[in-house]
Symmetry: C2
Subunit: 142 residues, 2 copies
């Protein structure tokens, strides 16, 4: 009954297209999608593990292991700066910062390619709508 076909369906395909391009850009920087997202979230300021887990929408144990792998590569480091000695914050190393910035720039540069065939109006629409949905549905940063 939903007219044309599959709004939901189309959203899934859209996300697959984005996901694929993103993964490609990440591997060009020798990163996985998960590690790349992690890096981008902490690139400007350290965050606690719990906050990070919420931001990325993953369980604490999954995050812990992701951090293990990323730390092993020297891109990120655990710190324990608070009086409460249980809390661990995660920051980037200088190397990680460089990688993060290069990746971020590349994403900004190459990811919008998927929208290259759209009219300028539609590109603006998409940008606006993506921002709305992302900020509305993520416990997120801002």
């Amino acid at each position: 009954m939903t007219e044309s076909q599959g709004f939901g369906d189309m959203l899934v395909w859209l996300s697959l297209v984005i996901q694929r391009r993103y993964a490609q850009i990440c591997t060009d920087h020798d990163l996985t999608s998960a590690q790349a997202s992690l890096l981008c979230v902490v690139k400007d300021r350290p965050l606690r593990m719990a906050e990070l887990a919420a931001n990325l929408g993953m369980a604490k144990n999954a995050l812990s292991q992701l951090v293990d792998r990323t730390e092993r590569r020297g891109l990120v480091q655990r710190e324990s700066p608070e009086p409460d000695r249980r809390v661990i914050t995660l920051g980037v190393t200088p190397a990680g910062k460089k990688v993060a910035e290069a990746l971020y720039a590349d994403v900004a540069d190459r990811l919008p390619d998927i929208a290259a065939d759209l009219s300028p109006d539609d590109q603006q629409h998409l940008r606006r709508i993506a921002t709305l949905i992302a900020t509305a549905n993520l416990p997120g940063p801002c």
Copy 2:
């Protein structure tokens, strides 16, 4: 320099939001995202492995293993209908068909929730734009 902040970035977040909701709906039907997508692609007509791999954007070997797991659950079955005995086509079982249709309906029903806060105009924009990008960037079905 790109105004406001991060078009590329926003697209990534958008795709994460969609991906998460989709994964949730899939697990509600006891499926993984990959198996769900596979099922939806073959639910109406059988396809060759090579075509499937192209449609889903994955390597042939990855597909082969995905099919193994999905076939083991009795949702899908390999056939060898052509004179060329190398080609294998993949079709759904009756059980698989039922699951696929229930899932598809649920996706159509619940996935657009993420856009619920948008104005009706924006929802139409999003639907249209998603369709454009998806069909333009997928070797896909149509």
